[in-house]
Each structure stands twice: as C-alpha cells, then as structure tokens.
C-alpha cells in the first residue's frame, strides 16, 4: 500500500516531508485536504491530527503527524531501502549533531524567516492585509544575526554537518519562499558560505523538483 501524504505544497511543513520522501526515493500519493475547514472536522481531529494541522502521513494503518517527526520516521524505516541517500548517519555522534542543527532550525532560524514570509507571502494571500514593514525589518535583523552564526558554522563545509542531512532539508521550505522574494535574497547572497550552502541545496534534483510543485 502506497504511503499517503495529506497537506498543501505551499505549506512549509508539508514541503519538508515532500523533500524527504523524494530524497529517500519513496513513492507516495499526495492528498490535499478538501478545504481548511476539513482540518477542523471532528473526524480529522480524532483520526488524523489532534490539533487539526497538516501534514499527516499514512503508512498502511499507521498514522503519524508533525513534519519533523514524520521525516525522522521515514528515515528510520526507509533509509537505504530505495536508494543510497543518507539523511541521518548511523554513527551516533554524527546523528547527534544532525539533531543539534535541526534544533537550531526550529529554535533560531525558523522564527525570523517566518516573520518575513508571514508578511510577504501569507499576509495578502490568506488575511487580505498588506505586509507590515516593521515586522519585516525585525525579521531581517534577527535573521541577519542567525545567518552570521551560520556563516561561521559553514566554514569549510558544504552542508551543516559536512555531509547532506535531514538538518539541511528542514531549512529548505521557508528559505525557498524568503529567498524567492527579490528584496530579501541578499541575506543569503551576502554571506559566501551561506550562499554556497543555499546554492548546493536548491540545485539538488529532489529539492528543485519539490520547489516546482510549490509553484504549481
């Protein structure tokens, strides 16, 4: 039975899972929900996601939600089964560092990027409001400090722990949206190691393909 992924391509958490599925070579079916309202239905809350969110992954009878948890599950079950791509190394110390960088993404990187894309991408589209320049300015300042740290962390490295890993994937969806806005690509392009890292990521086959899906 094929894996089923419930979500929207424009949703950054959904896109994390899409990239992970593609990188591991796992076949899957994509099922957008009928509507936003459908996520709050009693049945969805009881059987898919207790907080009424996406993405949700169905693997046979097994239901799992929350994008980072879904990706870790896919790696632990399917890594090495369809291709040779390693997203979490078997070495316990390297795996520990992957988790550390995953924590950097959710604790330090995600919030300022989300401030920017929340205004530039989602405010008009979902709330009918113009972007708030103050929030964007704050987001840029906060993100600049984070990217200054990343510039040092990426010295002599192609990816966050050296080799490509799940930690890099988790950064991709929201970076894709923010970098795609002309006024903000400087944040990455002004920092040579960060620029190099982002270029490595967005030129990977599976990631390129996943970003195409967002455009359509």
């Amino acid at each position: 039975m094929t894996i089923k992924l419930i979500g929207y391509p424009i949703s950054t958490p959904t896109l994390r899972v899409v990239i992970c599925l593609k990188e591991l070579g796992i076949p899957y079916e994509f099922e957008p929900p009928a509507s936003f309202q459908a996520l709050k239905d009693k049945d969805y809350i009881a059987n898919k996601h207790a907080f009424g969110k996406i993405p949700v992954l169905l693997d046979g009878d097994y239901v799992i939600n929350e994008s980072r948890a879904i990706c870790r599950y896919l790696v632990s079950k399917y890594q090495g089964k369809y291709n040779d791509t390693i997203l979490i190394p078997s070495d316990v110390h390297k795996a520990g560092l992957v988790e550390q960088f995953i924590s950097y993404e959710s604790c330090y990187y995600d919030s300022p990027v989300s401030k920017i894309i929340g205004q530039e991408v989602f405010a008009k589209k979902f709330r009918g409001k113009d972007p708030d320049p103050e929030i964007i300015k704050q987001g840029r300042e906060d993100l600049s400090k984070v990217l200054d740290v990343y510039e040092k962390l990426l010295e002599g490295k192609e990816y966050l722990i050296g080799e490509f890993s799940l930690a890099d994937i988790f950064h991709c969806p929201c970076t894709n949206l923010a970098y795609g806005i002309a006024a903000h690509s400087d944040l990455w392009d002004n920092r040579p190691n960060v620029k190099n890292w982002w270029n490595n990521l967005r030129n990977r086959d599976c990631i390129k393909k996943s970003f195409e899906e967002v455009k359509n």
């Binding site: 799992i64 948890a69 079950k77 520990g96 988790e99 995953i102 959710s106 604790c107 740290v149």
Partner: protein, 216 residues
Amino acid sequence: MSIKLIGFPSSGPLLRVIITLRELGLPYELEIPANIQAIKEEDYIKNKHPFGKIPVLIDGDFVINESRPICTYLVSKYQGKHNNTNLIPSDVHKAGLVGQYVSYESSYYDPPISTIIYQEIYSKKFHNKDPDPEVVKQAREELAKVLDVYEKILEGKEYLNGEYSIADIFHIPSTHYVYGIDAHSDLWDSRPNVKNWWNRLYNREAVKKTFDEIKN
C-alpha cells in the same frame, strides 16, 4: 571520562537533560557558568554553543548542545547500558509516535507555558517588572486549549505514548514551574487524565530527586 554538563541549575532545558541522565542511570558532573556573561564570551561561542546558550554536554571529545538533541543522543548511545529504562522504543512505529509527541511539546505546549513562566517568574526576577495580566490570561487560554487536547490523548493511557518516554520528560520542567504557581495548578488539576499524568511524572524517582536538588 565522566559526562560533563554545563548550565544553570534552575534552567528548564538543563533539567530536561538532568532528568534524562538520571533516568538512564548515567553519572555526570555539572559545571555552572560563572554568570550570564560567561556564555557570551568568544571562547564559549566558538567551542561550546554558537548562539551562547545552555545546556551543553561534553562526552569525552564530543560536544553537543540544545537540550532535546542532547537527550536524544544520550538515549541512542546509553539506553540499556546502565539500567533497563527505555526512553525511546526500538520499534520504529512506536518511536515515530514518541517523536510526534516530542513535536507537540515544542509546537503547542511550550509556547504558552513559556509565556506564563516569563511573566510570572522571569519578569520580576530579571527585569524588575510585574507580570502583565492580559498576557498571562491569553497564555492560560491557549494552554487550556492544548490541555483539552492532551486530556483526550491521555484517555486510557499512563503516559503520552502509553509507556514512559522522552516525550513525557520534555514536558516536565516547564510544567513543574507553572504548576507550582497556585493560581495556575488548576489547569492540570481540573482535567482528570492530565492530572493523573502529571502526578505520575512528578512522583518518578529521577524527577523527584531533580526537583529536590533545585530547592536547595
């Protein structure tokens, strides 16, 4: 060589790691930084935590930071070595659900509870400001909705995933702080499943010992 843990004794993230170390039966040494300034110094930033935070764990030559990755690393390296306590099941589906509940803690539970902690404990202590009642009220309402979901999740279960796991541990320090404020213990006590869950956690040996230590 003994495991070394760096952090301030009453820090919530540090307590996650201490509880995990105790549950796994792992000896360790705690090194308390001289002051907040010490963790912003160049040497600390370069060699311990690039964002100038605690906790940091040093295991021989291996340095890892961020509380949740530290705990996951400790489990993957030492689970079953000093005792029989299982914090992440070996079954890939059960482990996946533990990861899902870990994500619930950081996505939904932690934000409102951290707001309450900041208002009720840190504001006065570190900034000499009184708690803002509007902010506290808003955070209580948000946490109440989360706990309504937990009340259903915990139906017929002793712990979030049935058996005790790292997902339960991650909830403990912040819950201890807010539950300990008289005005807020009702949030847990008024929900029977949540109340039982919290009492069970609070009465575990490793947890009791950890909280006794910070009283002194």
